[in-house]
């Protein structure tokens, strides 16, 4: 059964702030083999004009994925998450994410579409500081594969 269009436009409550830690940045950078000193060495990051360690570009998936997952787990939506695969991902940054940032995710369902027996579900997550400064937006398209 196609997913309900009534979810389009639905917004989820702001998440508890995610505190970006230096060691988490280093760990994430190491996991993708990113050795740029700005991800690892505070002095190197500051020498480039950054206030603290810079997070690699895909680091925000750590908090945007979990924020969006509340939708997948919403029993009202009735999504079988055993069938869900990650279709598309986009990030658009106002500025890099830095260690020491506290980041809140505002999730809204942007699009629900059914095609060829599959359901496509796009969420947009605006990531802001507690002061309301926009830092980045992320879009995740999930594909729920149709049964055989």
């Amino acid at each position: 059964m196609p997913l309900s269009q009534s979810f389009v436009g639905r917004a989820y409550p702001p998440t508890r702030p995610y505190e970006v830690g230096r060691e988490k940045i280093r760990e994430f950078a190491t996991a993708i083999g990113a050795t740029d000193p700005a991800y690892h060495d505070l002095e190197a990051a500051r020498a480039l004009g950054h206030p603290d360690l810079v997070a690699p570009p895909t680091f925000p998936i750590l908090f945007t994925w979990a924020a969006g997952y509340r939708l997948i787990e919403d029993p009202e939506l009735g999504l079988d998450f055993g069938r869900v695969v990650h279709g598309d991902q986009r990030f658009s940054y106002q500025r890099p994410v830095y260690a020491g940032d506290n980041l809140i995710c505002l999730v809204v369902v942007e699009e629900i579409m059914s095609r060829g027996g599959h359901d496509f579900l796009t969420t947009r997550t605006d990531v802001v500081t507690p002061e309301g400064e926009p830092v980045l937006s992320g879009w995740t398209k999930l594909v729920a594969r149709g049964g055989e």
Partner: protein, 137 residues
């Protein structure tokens, strides 16, 4: 570093992915979906075997982009579509992905739009992969 030229082909970069890399990435990204570590579960859902995290592929491709531009904060907009799973065999060598790009357009301030190609063997693993990047330093 000189700026980009429209139409310029950026040199291919390759990245090896082994099972150990998947475990490390799972822990760092807190993505514990078993299709990235269990052959039993991966094959049960119809995959040929354990596959890489799409976000690991996107992360590796972001390294290529940052290297071409020569700065850790190169990317201002970055989007991909995951088209094919990257199967990672349980051996020493794992698999290898290759990332290249073409400069689609260049703005007056030197920022540029890159069209990214990522392949594993003969297969394209990303589609509609694009990055808007700051000017090289």
């Amino acid at each position: 570093m000189a700026g980009f030229q429209p139409g310029e082909r950026l040199p291919e970069q390759t990245f090896r992915i082994t099972r150990a890399d998947l475990v490390r990435y799972a822990g760092a990204a807190l993505d514990f979906n078993p299709i990235h570590w269990s052959d039993r579960i991966a094959t049960k859902v119809g995959l040929p075997g354990v596959i890489s995290h799409g976000m690991l592929t996107m992360g590796l491709a972001s390294r290529a982009v940052c290297a071409w531009v020569g700065r850790p904060d190169a990317i201002v907009d970055y989007s991909v579509r995951f088209t094919r799973p990257v199967v990672v065999p349980d051996d020493e060598d794992g698999t290898e992905i290759a990332v290249s790009a073409t400069v689609k357009s260049v703005e007056e301030d030197g920022s540029a739009l890159l069209d990214i190609t990522a392949t594993c063997g003969e297969e394209r693993i990303l589609a509609q992969a694009r990055a808007t990047v700051r000017p090289p330093r």
